[in-house]
Structures are given as C-alpha cells and as structure tokens.
Symmetry: C2
C-alpha cells in the first residue's frame, strides 16, 4: 500500500472538512476511498462535489466494498465504538472521531476488540494533541522540568454556544442524541489534554448545572475538583454561556509552574531550587523578605513561548499521522485506546453530580450506564408528554 | 471626645505595627491610650519605646483603667470574641483583629452581645476592604455593571510560608493554638473580600490537604467549590506552598467579566448587549463567526485599571475609620458583625473536607464546634505520645 484510501462515514461538518482536505491533496499519503451517509441530500451533494468517489448509504457495504483501507467515523458520538468495531472486524483501520463514545462500557468494548487486532491501526481524532503548544507543555512536564505535579487548574469557558446552536436539530444537547452537553461535545479536547499531560485523577467531585443558561436538558456549566490520590489536586471548569470566554491552564509542580493563556502563550517559571529545598533550607527572616514582596525573579527563571494557531492544520496532521502509522508504523499521536480516559473522566464528572458525592476512577461503568439510561428514559417521557 | 485613646491588647507583630503608626501620629484622631501584654519582655520593650503609655499585663485591668476608649485585639484568634465582649461590657469600643474568631459559635456570641450595645463601635480589621482596587471591584458589581453573577473564581496561592515560619512557636498551625492553617491565618482577607463583593454561597464542597507540603496538622492546601444556590458557582483555591504564587480573581456576570490580577490590575469587559440578549437574538451563522474567532472587541468594551499598593496605608485607614465612627458616626468599612461570614465560610470548608460531602451555609455551628474539638483532642493525644 502506498496511499491509504480513506472511507468517510458521515459527511457532515467534520466529515466534509476532512474529505475536502483529502480531495485537495492536503493530506500526505491519503486519498478519498469512499463516502458514506444515510442522508439522500448528502448523496446528491457528493455526486456533484466528488463525482469519482464511490458513495454508500450503508457503512457496512462501504467496509466490504474493497474501496477503503481505513475509515473515519464522523457520526454521532454514540455510534463511534460500534462502527469502529465493524471496521476492525473487516480488517479496516479505524480512526474514531472524538469522543471515543458516550460511556466507558461501550468504549471498553472497542478497546478490547482492537487489542485482538494489533496489526490494525486504531486511532482517535484528538487533533489538539498535534498542537505544538500542548506538545511543548507535555514535554516540559514529562521532562520533569517543573517536578512532580501539585496542582492543575484549567478554566476553559470559551466554548460559547447560543440557543440557536442547540436548536439546529433535535438530537443536539439531549441524553439520547449526544449523551451530554459541553463535556461530550465541546470539551473532550481539553479533558484529553489534561489527562494526557497531567495524568488521570483518582477521584472527582463535580458541581454541574444542567440547562443553567440554555434551554437544554444536558450540562452547560461544569465545575470539578480532581484528586490525583497523591496529595495533588486539580480544578476543571468549562461552560457554553461565557461569550468572553477564559482559557487559562495552570500546572504547579515542585520545581516550577506553567501557565498557558488562550492556548497561545506558555509562561514557564522554573525554580532555581525546588520548592521542597527552599522550604527546608530557608530561614524565617529570608522567607519574610520573599513574602513581603522581594524580587521573585531571583528564585526562578521565566520563559515565555508564543504560538500561532493555523486552523485546519491540526486535523491534517492527525490524518497524516494515521496514514503514516498504517504505512510505516510511525507512532500514533493518539492511539484509539487512549479515548477511554477522556470518556471516563467526563462520565465521572456527570456521575458525581448525579450522586452528589465524590466518585472514584476508573468510573463504575455499569452504574454510569444505568444512570445515563435513566436520563434517557426521563427525557423520552418528557418529550412524549410535551 | 476629640481623640480616641486606643488600648492595644497584645503587642506582637501586628499590635506593634499599629502602636507604631499611632505613636508616630499617622492615625488621625487616635492616640495610644495603653498597651497590654502578658509577656514581661514586651513590658520592658514598651517601657523603653513608649515610656509615657501605661502598660498592663492583664487586659481587664486595662479596660477598667479609664485610660482607653477603645481596644484592638491583636491576640491569638481564639481570644478575639471574648476580649471583644469584655470590652463592650465596659462600654469600650472594640476593633477585632481578623479572623473574628475560630468558630461561628463564639463569633455569634459577640455579635449578639454587640447588638445589645448599638451605641458602641464594634468593627473588624479587614484592611483589604480599604484597598481601592477591591472597593472598585465591589462598586462595579454593586452597580450591576456586569449583571447578576454567574461564576466566581479566586486562586490566591501567594501565601507562601516555609517550615521555618511554622516552627517559630508551638501554637502555630495547630488546632488548639490557631484552629486551622491557611484558612484561619492567611486567607481570611480574601475569604472576606469574596463574600463582601460576591455574596455568601449557600453550599460548599472542599478538598483540603492537611500537612500536604508542610509538617503541620492543619491545612496548607485548599480547593473549594461554592454554590450560590441560584445556579451560580464559584471556586476558591489557596495554599502556603506555592512560592511562585498566583493571585487571580475572576467574576463572570450576565453583562460582563472582571479579572483581577495580582491584586494590582482590574480588567473589566462590559458587554454591549447582555449575554442573555445575545443568546436569544443571535443566529447560528452569526454565532459561528464569533466562535470561529471573530473580533470579540465588537461585543464588549474593555477597561483596564491599574493600582499601586502602599504598604501600611490600609491598616491606617482601618484605624482612622474606626476612630471616625466613634467620633462622628462615619459608616464603618467593616462592621464587626461582618466577621462571622468569613469565619462561617472557612468553617464550612473545613467541615466539608472532614465529612467528605457538600455542606450548607450557614454552617451547623454545634457540629463544627464538636468536630473542631475532636481535632484538638486528637492533637493533644498525639503530643502526649510523642
């Protein structure tokens, strides 16, 4: 194989974007193998836009057509795992759109199945992992430059979505259609980056507001305390009603601090001596000078690194990395099996708010699934009685 | 009375500073009436430094001496309420050092007693309320310039204290001596400002680490979720082990956002239309433009206000305001009865972490007192067995 023939399952906003990149030759070693969608209007659109690309209205037919080596699942979140499994079953490589699924029980199924097919490429579309800024943050943390982590804090409230967004279609922002709100649709990128860079917490407590500022049943406001089990704590905040959104990510370690502003600027303060050493060695008199406002420049070195984001480049990078893994075993930026972490964290955040208490991770998958189904049932009754 | 004769109870670091300001004539309409301390070394020091000021080793004697019209209680936190009550009983005006006490049960006692003596001035030393920056923030919020509050977020981790600080004396950072750590000693200013500006939450959930990075039994790391009961939430974070401390206070409202950095700079973003109106009126297409990165400058106006802090001026302002209230009824910046809010919030944060669940406010004063006493008892046993 010299080029990967990609099948796009679902040619909506995301699928259409990816198909466009590939058709325009922007994705190295990847060509459009086929397109699948259940919507007749999409079929007509594709006949005009991609006349040479086979079109299917059933993804199983596409998987069995011999026209595709791999697929991307740009379909509603609930469908990612089952479509991924069907592809892998037929020895078709699978790139899942994020999130990997809505609940860990289903994501575990695809992870377990994929583990039986190690020769196939199974990846997930965490395009933010290709963002040089977050790669740099991960590198600084992984290198131990700020030491073991003491606290994480991400306030990412710039996922503004007005009511008109939610009113686009009936499945949006419902338990049965999406399985959640900002945690499932908008924030999975940051949830993944947080765990990718800082590790998974052991416990989560959340205060989640459902339909706080929007006429929706799912969450539009999330405040969470993370406990890493070793004394370290974290806070994760997101929402869809802050039109002047904040994006500020701070990581404190024994040896320094990283602050990321607006996903554009990293400020790293590296302590000359670790805080542990300063704590052990410093006299009360010297300490006084510091907290009375002495020049802190003497205790750390500051580095500021600025980045420019190029829209679309991240998605192309994920597609190219997926193709490269298939073709020559280049390591994946986001292995498919990583998808479960973000889903588990989002599930734990929901579950904590539903139970009104701190919950442990990995989340109790049966309990979450049962509670989610209660929400879906209640939503159905509500819809019927309206 | 033309000048208020102040009695300083406890001539340690704070009491000594206040006495110095008054002796140097920096405090309008206030003179040093007397000084009290139980430490003979302090008596010798005062004999030299303030030879004309009567000295007492018993504060009741000072209260009954006829030398003072008012007192300030710069003594360990547990003693503030009882000394305040003894002063008021003798028709002596009382200025309590912060915090008003360690637990609300005792603070309620002085509040109730003070209410029976409305002719007397009862105030608390919240010097940060005289900070023009926080007065401005409060004014913006009170004027409704950012609308009803949706979220508050204060990370105030620049209360760095090394082990040497805690090792200064046996009572520091103990349950019996201080009744807590950063919540009781360092952060009461911010806890008061937070409730002064944004109101009291109805519920609190906290994750508190006791002796996380210091060899102490009380808290050196606090992460708290506040629930205001109307959908609005908040986060309060503080600690004593972050030598590159962060001080960032954000308030989001329906009509805008305030961000305070380092207690020096206010950035106010006032929306031209409230978020509620934007949400109701904006089409999906227009909204897309905004979250694809359109110029947000068009939807809000930004004002940046910078402040310079003058060390000591705040304390002088509190003393002057106290004197002015006594002399001519000038409204108090911080009435004594306000002290209970911060104590209640700190108590709720402790209690939530002890019980492992969200707790309601006002805090259950008997339950808190019982749990605090358990800590004190456990600490005593620990000390005996060591």
């Amino acid at each position: 194989m010299k080029q990967v023939r990609l099948g796009v399952i679902g040619i909506g906003a995301q699928g259409g974007t990816y198909a466009g990149f590939i058709a325009e030759g922007k994705v190295k070693n990847m060509v459009l193998g086929a397109i699948c969608d259940t919507d007749p209007e999409k079929k007509a659109m594709c006949a005009e836009k991609y006349p040479d690309v086979p079109f299917y209205d059933n993804y199983i037919d596409m998987l069995e057509s011999g026209n595709v080596d791999a697929v991307v699942t740009t379909v509603p979140h609930y469908l990612h795992p089952e479509m991924g499994i069907e592809a892998l079953k037929r020895d078709i490589h699978a790139l899942l759109e994020k999130p990997a699924g809505v609940y860990t029980k289903q994501v575990k199924e695809i992870n377990e199945f994929a583990a039986t097919k190690p020769e196939l490429t199974f990846a997930i579309f965490f395009n933010q992992r290709t963002n040089p800024l977050y790669q740099k943050v991960k590198e600084i943390v992984d290198n131990g430059e700020i030491g073991p982590i003491r606290r994480t804090n991400w306030m990412i409230t710039n996922w503004w979505r007005p009511q008109a967004y939610y009113n686009q279609s009936d499945w949006r922002a419902t338990w049965s259609g999406e399985g959640g709100g900002v945690l499932v649709n908008q924030a999975p990128h940051q949830i993944d980056l947080l765990q990718w860079i800082c590790g998974m917490p052991k416990k989560v407590y959340s205060n989640v507001k459902y339909g706080f500022q929007r006429d929706i049943v799912v969450e539009d406001e999330v405040t969470t305390i993370l406990d890493y089990g070793n004394g370290a704590t974290g806070v994760f905040i997101t929402c869809t009603h802050d039109v002047i959104g904040t994006d500020r990510f701070e990581i404190l370690g024994d040896k320094g601090k990283i602050v990321v502003d607006d996903s554009k600027k990293i400020t790293v303060k590296r302590l000359k001596k670790s805080e542990n050493e300063m704590n052990a060695e410093m006299s009360w008199a010297d300490a006084m000078k510091i907290f009375m406002g002495a020049d802190l420049g003497e205790i750390y070195e500051e580095e500021v690194i600025e980045f420019q984001s190029v829209w679309g480049q991240q998605h192309i990078s994920v597609l190219e990395n997926f193709a490269a893994n298939i073709l020559d075993g280049t390591p994946l930026i986001a292995p498919g099996s990583d998808g479960i972490h973000g889903v588990g964290l989002a599930n734990a955040i929901h579950l904590s708010s539903w139970l009104g208490k701190e919950v442990e991770l990995p989340v109790d998958e049966e309990l979450y699934f049962a509670e989610l189904n209660k929400k879906i049932e209640a939503e159905k009754k509500e819809t019927v009685t309206q």
